[in-house]
């Protein structure tokens, strides 16, 4: 395994993400605090204004804890590098990458994940403060972060597979947008997934999206046992391997249709 280009791509990605520091800071602040504020507002409306004492088996403090901890993992799941892939296919710039002796899907991922790794480190630091306040186990926090990072890989893999629809329809922007919207709801970023009524629980359970935010948060908060965590980690690895096969298939099919116009 050639580590040299991978480290160089990671370094390049980090430099690219932080070249405009104010933007980078805005991105972190915007994507962290505004969704958290909106979540908190919902809990405020339900409990403080509405006078509820329990919603879906969760108290006000349970939901606020969920919001605080899920904030750490929702920062890691993101990344728009699948959009970069579809743009390369659409514009023909993919040709430049095909000439290089590296896997284009992996190269774009490594370059794109650099900023997420940096954010993951920041989240671990912030998280240890939150963990100390809420009395959470640091070991659980690290385990949850591992699951969130695997979630980041799955998220990209799904995006990379979907971006190959650009070989068919010239662009995959819309389909990637749809994926992100569905992820917003089914990852547990907006609300804890156990608020879904029993008849609707199958919806989020049948996708890997809950492994991005809801799963790590449940483990960090101690709602999952270590055994459950290992079980979910196994499921995450299965999704990762499955998506790897899907990427191989979709990209080999897509490359047969690639015309390299405008590259």
């Amino acid at each position: 395994m050639n580590l040299q280009w991978r480290i160089a791509a990671l370094k390049n990605g980090f430099q690219d993400a932080t070249a405009y520091r104010v933007e980078f800071l805005f991105e972190i602040l915007g994507s962290a605090f505004v969704p958290a504020a909106i979540q908190w507002v919902l809990w405020y409306a339900l409990f403080q204004i509405g006078g509820a004492t329990e919603v879906g088996g969760m108290s006000y403090s349970d939901l606020v804890h969920y919001t605080l901890v899920s904030l750490l993992f929702s920062q890691i799941r993101g990344g728009d590098h699948d959009f970069e892939l579809q743009e390369m296919i659409r514009s023909g710039h993919l040709s430049n990458y095909l000439l290089r002796p590296v896997s284009v899907v992996e190269f774009i991922y490594i370059r794109g994940v650099a900023s997420r790794l940096f954010i993951a480190c920041l989240c671990l630091l912030v998280g240890s403060g939150i963990a100390a306040t809420l009395g959470l186990s640091p070991l659980r926090l690290i385990g949850a972060m591992v699951l969130a990072l695997i979630g980041n890989i799955i998220h990209y893999q799904i995006g990379a597979a979907l971006s190959t629809t650009a070989f068919l329809w010239e662009e995959a922007y819309s389909i990637l947008m749809v994926k992100n919207m569905v992820v917003n709801l089914l990852s547990g970023e907006l609300i804890p997934l156990n608020l879904f009524p029993a008849s609707m629980q199958w919806i989020w359970k049948s996708t890997p999206f809950y492994l991005y935010v809801f799963g790590p948060t449940q483990f960090a908060l101690g709602k999952w046992t270590y055994l459950e965590y290992l079980n979910q980690l196994g499921i995450a690895v299965m999704w990762m391997l499955g998506m790897w096969a899907v990427i191989r298939l979709t990209w080999s099919l897509g490359m047969k249709r690639y015309l390299s116009l405008g590259g």
């Binding site: 507002v41 879906g56 662009e171 389909i175 919207m181």
Partner: protein, 263 residues
């Protein structure tokens, strides 16, 4: 006379955009799909919440759906007329494309904000209105001649979105890249997707004054359902007027700062 001149330019812009949209027919379907999914996600969020409670800060499920219908229509109006222009706004400045607009015998800002019209999003205006009509009765909307007010309030929502988006976009003259600021706009925009009365006092004050996202859908929905207090009308007029003046001031300052990258 001057107005007729501007209307004629706008007519030509619409015609050009119609031709462009007709060329990319698949784009119509994908764009509609994205918006339908977005609407479905927003509706699902409230469906999940209302599966656990009967009211949310005094809003029944039907009233929230009525609000969502108004909000979607108002947002779709913005998407039709302005969204693409704001996405292209930073390119105008960074690539120096604004030069050519400044040389035209019409206001450069008019040209900058009217070049691209997203005709496909018209479908979403009707989709939003269909939701509004569907839930109007159960939500307690009295109907009759009051339906005429829907148009007025949608216009208020459109103007509000335009004024807020402009404040965020014009920062590109100072920050050079506006990607993160645009993203921040959409993070704050999430405040518009919930009824304003669910927010705690400080946030509610913010979205009714400095960042008046509540004017896009929430205030119009409240006005249609219950009517507003006199001081709320005064606040609405004063805030929108202040934003007009501030935008005008910032535009003049921005032009002084413009470096004309292409020359």
């Amino acid at each position: 006379m001057r107005l007729a001149y501007y209307l004629e330019i706008y007519r030509v812009q619409i015609k050009n955009n119609f031709v462009r949209e007709a060329v990319y027919r698949t784009n119509f379907l994908t764009a509609v799909t994205v918006d339908v999914i977005w609407i479905a996600v927003e509706v699902s969020l409230f469906t999940v919440l209302y599966a656990n409670v009967n009211t949310l800060a005094g809003w029944t499920k039907e009233q929230v759906y009525f609000f969502l219908g108004i909000f979607f229509s108002s947002d779709a109006l913005f998407t039709v007329f302005f969204q693409r222009n704001f996405w292209n706004f930073s390119d105008l400045i960074n690539r120096g494309d604004l030069d050519i607009l400044l040389t035209k015998p019409v206001h450069a800002l008019f040209l900058a904000l009217s070049q691209s019209i997203n005709l496909t999003a018209i479908f979403n205006i009707f989709l939003g209105l269909a939701i509004t009509v569907q839930y109007a009765g159960p939500a307690g909307f009295l109907g009759g001649a009051r339906w005429l007010l829907v148009g007025v309030w949608l216009l208020v929502g459109l103007i509000s979105a335009l004024l807020i988006r402009f404040i965020f976009s014009i920062t590109v003259f100072w920050t050079e890249r506006s990607w993160a600021i645009s993203r921040l706009y959409y993070q704050f925009f999430a405040f518009a997707t919930k009824p304003d009365t669910i927010y705690p006092r400080a946030i509610r004050y913010l979205i009714l004054t400095a960042l008046p996202f509540a004017f896009i859908g929430s205030v119009p929905a409240r006005a249609l359902l219950y009517g507003l207090e006199f001081h709320e009308y005064v606040n609405l007029v004063l805030v929108l007027l202040s934003f007009c003046l501030l935008n005008s001031f910032l535009w003049k300052k921005a032009l002084l700062r413009y470096q004309s990258a292409s020359s």
